[in-house]
Amino acid sequence: MAQFQKQSFGFFSAILFLALSLSGTFARAAVWVEKETWDDSWEDKYSDWVRTSFNEDFFVKGRYSGIATDCAHAVYVARMIFAFENKLPFLIKDPTGGSVRISNRMARWDGESAINRVRKFAVYIGSMVSTKTLPNDTYPIEINRKYLRAGAVWSRVRITEDNIFRRIFGMNVDADPGHAEVVKDVSDTGVVSLIGSTVPKDVRMLLLTSSLVFMPIEKTTGFRQWKQPQDYGKPVESLKGYSLEQFSMGVAYNNGSRSLDAWTKDVQSRLQQRVESKEELIQRTVNNFCSLVTARVAVVQETEKFRKKLGDQCMSAADYDNYSTPSRDKRILDTLIAVKNAAGIGGLFGPKNIDTLYPYFEKCEALHLDEIYSMTPFSYARLINEDPMVSDPNESMLARWNLAPVAAKNCPKPQ
């Protein structure tokens, strides 16, 4: 009997061991197990999904709410989440130089629920990628409606031609930061709508615009398509739609020099199925303005909280850098200039008054600056049409919106 008990114990131990081993085997499920393969049909579906489902509130409402993103991260995560939802593989090059690719087969979060694995994978991707990793995972494409469509990537690394010339002529480098967005749609008038996040990394509404703001020069930038998993290791020249043509488009002068304005028009003319009317152009640029100004609200609110915490103190150089908004503000001002140019009231000799543009602003939502103050984007447009924008984070919230005079706090501005 004693022998039987001993044997039984051994047997059940073995069964328990096997059960644990087997459960361990099944628990190593990766982030998700792919069942499909990327092909043209899935690329079509991805394009449709971005157009219809990857909307401004993607990371603030629903299943993926609460995921903090910055610009490149949001671009990667869009692709990753679509892959997850459709059991497709997701794979990117390890940017740290490792030979193992980062993919949905990562086992780091085994034991977590499926959605938690995906959310943690999304956060992980954010810790790995940047605008400088996008060239590893995407390639430049032909500028036509077949390849430049919803789901394509629009990206630039930091350096611009201006910077190169500044370096050449010994001037200070004042770089534009890198940026990346997802092509949300291409209209029949050839307008490319872009959706994306921004820095610093945060849980935020995505920004929808149609302003391209830069012309691609380096071959690592511009309109790009994702590599499919089976494309890694192949020469990019062999991939569908690969082309460098966008880097020579936009010639504006007899000496072959290019300009952003000419480039934007070239892109639009290649994509358009009909000509965009003047009214449409004005409305589109006004919509851009409203989107950009709406995104500024949360940034200024965040700064105001921090400023109040500091009391009378000035911000340190690092905090000033974190909370000031010169790039963002320049883009807003450039967009207002574009609105005026579209309406034919721009330039040095144009009328100062922009009241004739009011009807185009009617659909823009009000800006809720805090619990007390609100204003319309049109009111703000009028204010910054008259006076300079206030990017200084040491100024009060009302001053930042040109609703109060700037305070003579005499805080030093970091160089």
Partner: protein, 253 residues
């Protein structure tokens, strides 16, 4: 009774190995079915290359790998192939770049030497990123990635990320305080390297020349891996330069 138990155990064991075996087979079938075979082969190939390099006692242990100290056997074939790549570059742009030997190490210095007579020296250089792999004294691996970029306001800087590796060999970030991650000092970098030995150093560099030529290179352990040169409306691109068979292509755009 014992026989029954043994039989049952055998059945369970067979079932276990069957399931495990099937799981493995399923994964392979799945790879083939989903078109991942090519990719996995490429990964395997990369791993093999890495393994070969790590076998070299010189490369695995140097703290500052340079072309002179790297695996000479591994680069002999590359040195034979590089002159052809340089000639192809010259033909692409219709320039007379110097190719004075039938054996030239595929390094940035050799490339610039070859081009100097035609396009001069670079007038601006810009390092996009670098990766450094460190094997610590206790055998753990660490990685440092530095990206040169700009912050949200366009202020240029160097941004450091520091990683350890997980069981799958994938990097896992070790969060550094901003004073270490933004514009890290040499002291910070040396502290993170500790007493480890560098097993890999790679970087991506853009060089600009006075007539607007752009040369983008990726170097690994001091040797060129990839090269892309743009001059006028022509583009010349090579990959796998540190091998016996670099892939080069000249195109108009």
């Amino acid at each position: 009774m014992i026989r029954k138990i043994l039989a049952l155990f055998a059945v369970v064991a067979i079932a276990y190995f069957f399931v495990k075996g099937r799981g493995h087979e399923n994964m392979q079938t799945s790879n083939l079915k989903h078109g991942l075979k090519l990719n996995l082969n490429a990964e395997e190939s990369e791993k093999r290359n890495l393994a070969v390099k790590n076998e070299s006692p010189v490369l695995a242990q140097v703290s500052d790998p340079t072309p002179e100290r790297a695996n000479v056997e591994g680069t002999e074939a590359a040195a034979k192939a590089f002159p052809d790549a340089l000639k192809a570059l010259g033909a692409c742009f219709d320039i007379r770049n110097q190719v004075n030997s039938d054996r030239i190490q595929p390094t940035l210095a050799q490339l610039i030497d070859s081009l100097r007579g035609e396009i001069g020296d670079s007038i601006a250089e810009y390092e996009d990123w670098s990766n450094e792999h460190i094997i610590m004294a206790n055998g753990e691996q660490r990685r440092l990635r530095i990206e040169n970029g700009a912050d949200a306001n366009g202020i240029p800087g160097r941004f450091l990320r520091y990683f350890k590796l997980d069981k799958q060999g994938l990097p896992e970030i070790i969060t550094l305080p901003p004073e270490q991650s933004q514009n890290p000092s040499d002291e910070t970098l040396n502290l993170l390297r500790a007493d480890g030995q560098r097993s890999l150093y790679e970087r991506n560099l853009r060089s600009y020349f006075q007539n607007g030529e752009e040369v983008v290179t990726t170097e690994k352990n001091g040797f060129l891996q990839d090269l892309e040169m743009t001059k006028g409306a022509k583009n010349f691109k090579c990959s796998n330069l540190n091998s016996e068979g670099p892939n080069c292509r000249c195109s108009d755009y």
